[in-house]
């Protein structure tokens, strides 16, 4: 998703949260048809790919995934911290239906209760994914986050997300992805309004050039009375280079440069490095993050440090055999002298 949409709509947290909700529900993540040659069979897969490649004269370019997922591997390694206490009860009523009750106590984000409901339909294009997916969560004062994801055919997928706060639509986003054999094209409409005549349109295209390289472009067009000159268009170039267990990805545009590097160092350790330069804000932030998986201890630890001296860590431990999962989060900044601690318990 373009920075423009993120900046102007503020819906990204919703989408991110719904994704993490989906992940915690064990729901299908958007398909990653990209050549994710990670994991144990990475070497074997590469060998086989080399054999097959010789035979078929390397005409087998794979789908590169969406532009939205370009930096995903690197971003996933980074710790997402929270503040305060969180208790979440997940209840699966059937394979297609799940509800959740969340109590959040915090000084920074609104505290209180949230109710969430998820429905997963029966239309299947792959064994792990079913559509449509409807996610809704609402709090007692009526603040709603709604997400609808539907796959109309094996290539065409639509996503709708909306955020309503205090009976006002804060953000709406409708995006459509088309996955070709070796490319993905997406178009996103954000906050369209016929009354103020404003909105954001983002077009994205990602093409596999070789088996390891994907290149693409993004055009973001924003119009409305608040936009200087009533309309503005920003073109960015993007690319990704996958080499075995490491991935380079980058976005370059007039607003800045965003570079990501991801490396799977071993079965337990993954490392991500990110540099983000914003010309408008005149600042650069670099982040180094790592993730340690210890499946034997049912433990995942994510840690990161960035050039603003934010040190973050999130520990996630499943308390087997109980269906509980415990999360401890900390974020510290020695320079600004602040510290945030969060702990969470997820049941179910």
């Amino acid at each position: 998703m373009g920075n423009v949409v993120a900046a102007s709509s503020g819906i990204e947290p919703t989408a991110a949260r719904s994704n993490s909700v989906a992940a915690s529900l064990g729901l299908p993540e958007p398909a990653q048809l990209s050549s994710s040659r990670s994991g144990t069979d990475g070497a074997a897969a590469t060998l086989i790919a080399a054999d097959v490649g010789d035979a078929s004269k390397e005409h087998t370019l794979e789908n590169p995934g969406t532009v939205e997922e370009l930096h995903k591997k690197c971003k996933d390694v980074q710790a997402i911290t929270f503040e305060g206490a969180k208790i979440m009860l997940n209840k699966g009523l059937s394979n297609h239906f799940q509800v959740s009750h969340t109590i959040n106590l915090s000084t920074t984000v609104p505290s209180g209760y949230r109710f969430g409901a998820t429905y997963v339909g029966t239309k299947q294009y792959s064994p792990t994914e079913a559509f449509p997916v409807l996610l809704g969560d609402i709090d007692p004062s009526g603040n709603l986050n709604a997400n609808v994801i539907h796959q109309f055919s094996s290539r065409l997928r639509c996503k709708f997300a909306s955020q309503i706060q205090e009976s006002k639509v804060m953000a709406t986003q409708l995006s459509t992805d088309y996955r070709g054999n070796d490319f993905t094209a997406s178009i996103t409409l954000g906050n369209p309004s016929i009354f103020t005549n404003s909105g954001v349109i983002v077009g994205q295209y990602l093409q596999s050039v070789t088996q390891r390289t994907a290149l693409g472009a993004e055009v973001a067009y924003q119009y409305g009375p608040n936009v200087p000159g009533r309309q503005i268009a920003i073109v960015s170039a993007l690319g990704r280079y996958t080499n075995g267990d490491s991935i380079w990805s980058g976005t370059l545009g007039p607003s800045g440069l965003h570079l990501c590097y991801y490396q799977k160092a071993s079965e337990q350790l993954q490392i991500g490095v990110e540099v983000e330069t914003s010309l408008r804000m005149q600042e650069s932030v670099a982040t180094i993050a790592y993730q340690i998986d210890l499946p034997k201890a049912d433990l995942v630890f994510k840690g990161s440090i960035d050039s603003n001296w934010h040190i973050s860590g999130v520990l996630e431990k499943r308390l087997q055999p109980l269906p509980f999962s415990f999360t401890l989060s900390g974020r510290m900044n020695h320079v600004k002298n602040n510290f945030k601690l969060g702990c969470g318990l997820m049941i179910g």
């Binding site: 009523l93 429905y119 639509v169 009354f195």
Partner: protein
Amino acid sequence: MVLSEGVKERLGVVVDIVQTTFHWGFVPMVLYLGFSKGAEPGMPPLSLLSLLWQ
């Protein structure tokens, strides 16, 4: 796109109704879909209480 004031007003009413319906209807719709799908075969049937506890 230029809309006259009258059209804007009427469109505003329609958009308001759609918005309110969506706002208060979305989560109930998800619940309705889930309940109409029913429980898994061999499991006890779903009731409103099963939203809270078994």
